[in-house]
Amino acid sequence: MMNNNDRVEIRKTHKLFIGGAFPRSESGRTFEATNSSGEFLANMAMASRKDARDAVIAARAAFASWSKATAYNRGQVLYRIAEVMQGRAEQFVQDIQNSEGVSIKKATKQVDTAIDRMVWYAGWADKYAQVLGNTNPVAGPFFNFSVPEPTGVVAAVAPDSPSLLGLVSVIAPIVMTGNSVIAIASYKNPVPAITLSECLATSDVIGGNINILTGDPADIMPWLATHADVNALDLTGITNTELITQLESDAAGTVKRVRTAPADPDFYATPTLSRVRAFTEIKTVWHPMGV
């Protein structure tokens, strides 16, 4: 195919993923994604605050139905994402090699781990409530239950590296419990995120439940940190401590949950439930015992 010189090259436009659709940035801005040696790779859409605002509206609308989906169904939908990702594995490997400049072996390991990570979280969908929730002993004729519920709309920043595994590790635990997410892909290595959004669009994810923006988190996050309809922030991909402080302070105005990254997290290690716990609310219910 490559040898056929008569064929016009198909160039790809890398766009945002908002509300299940692939719009260009409202601002019309783009930025250049480069490979590890700084050479041009692709033009990416540079998300603006208005794209972020649109994503919040889409995420809030999707939250209404996604948070009501059964635990079993949520697990199935996550597993379906892993299925579609597996079919695209080669493209992911290529994307990661191009952006991160790693060997095919390392890139393959990252893709395999990312798919396994999705399946791992899919399996937790109907189990985490048993671990994070409880029936509490109380001094009275009551059943007392604590159950985790989704927090709402979460804005998350994925780490630069590993670009795909990091993004999946951020998104999966957020949406698994019923939240909606606006994920900002790595500013440095954004290309694998575009392939991931194509997987999401062709799986069973509700339009708007997972939104992926490409652009500068320092540009977009302050607007999401003060946005009154965002309930939590995941700052995994932000390393600038001044920016973290500013975002935490902005988030305080509307009492958001904020999860900052531990220093140098190991994305290849089997995760704990810490990310799941970070974006759930524990509701405790008192129920009268039989009279």
Binding site: V56, W223, T226, H227, A228, D229
Partner: protein, 311 residues
């Protein structure tokens, strides 16, 4: 052309001739004009002014079978102080309710804002004239100072303009000092030519306002329909010197849409119409979006539905 004296008893032959003589409307042209006016960029101070003006033009409406006195009273409190976190927010122009709830509404809003009642067998208009007049008179007695009446679309569509005209004249009389808004229900009139005819018919019969829709029929208010009505109002003003108001009702849910209407009003009939006395929005959910955008303008960050009432 027949006389424009709305007070004179209708010479029905002249009326028919006049309406038949109205020039036709280029629908594609009207839609293109409306779309072009919708692309204006209104930002910063102008946007804040537009939002405040739009809030002051809202007829906050609840017209459900499930309306209760409690719900109407709650809505009236919101009409007086739309955003309790910011008392500089203007009150809306009026509340719009069914006739039997006028008294409940008036007890909350006092003399601060208008109380509009839908009357004349709203929304279908399918009742005898006697019933329609009684409906109107009761609402006025209960304290409504604006009456939103529906025209008899069946009569209009079958060409019986005289009947529609006579009904409006009779209802106007029953209103006394209350302002009369005539609902054309443009979604059922089908063509823009009919909208122009119905607008002139209503103005000549004595309407103080012409209103697009009941909100019970889709499509409700659209930009092209409102454009045609505004043009009719402009032409009527040029011929008679009387300013008639326009109320766009139903289907306007976002601040962006509302601002498009304001631009159209300004460009079609002029700045004098940018007042609650001459232009209104009939809406329920629009107000919340206007408040969210207003909060966004004043606080500098995006607000969310948790910060306005659930209606």
């Amino acid at each position: 052309m027949s006389s424009l004296d709305a007070q004179a008893p209708a010479t029905h032959k002249g009326l028919h001739a006049f309406l038949a003589g109205l020039p036709g409307i280029d629908q594609v042209g009207a839609e293109a004009r409306a779309a072009a006016l919708g692309t204006r960029s209104i930002k910063k101070d102008s946007k804040l002014w537009a939002i405040n003006t739009a809030i002051s033009m809202v007829d906050l409406t609840t017209l459900e079978g499930a309306d209760t006195r409690g719900k109407v009273k709650a809505m009236c409190s919101k009409a007086l102080h739309p955003d309790p976190t910011d008392m500089t927010t203007p009150s809306v122009a009026a509340v719009c309710v069914y006739g039997d709830l006028v008294e409940a509404a008036r007890s909350v809003v006092g003399d601060h804002i208008h109380v509009a009642a839908v009357a004349t067998a709203f929304p279908s208009g399918r009742a005898s004239l006697a019933v329609k007049l009684l409906d109107t008179a009761e609402a006025v007695t209960d304290g409504a100072d604006e009456i939103d009446m529906v025209i008899d679309r069946g009569a209009f569509l079958s060409g019986n303009f005289s009947k529609v005209f006579d009904e409006i004249v009779a209802v106007k009389q029953a209103c006394g000092s209350a302002h009369l808004k005539v609902i054309l229900e443009t979604g059922e009139l089908k063509t823009l030519d009919n909208v122009r005819k119905a607008s002139w018919l209503a103005m000549k019969a004595g309407a103080d306002f012409i209103k697009t829709s009941t909100g019970k029929v889709t499509p409700a208010a659209t930009l092209p329909v409102t454009l045609v009505m505004l043009e009719a109002v402009r032409d009527y003003y040029q011929e008679t010197g009387t300013r008639i108001g326009v109320k766009a009702a139903g289907g306007i849910r976002t601040s962006k849409d509302a601002i498009k209407y304001l631009v159209m009003v300004n460009e079609t009939v002029g700045e004098e119409w940018l007042t609650p006395d001459l232009f209104r929005f009939g809406a329920s959910t629009l107000l919340n979006d206007l408040l969210l955008q207003r909060q966004r303008m004043l606080t500098g960050h995006y607000s969310g539905p948790d910060y306005v009432t659930i209606d």
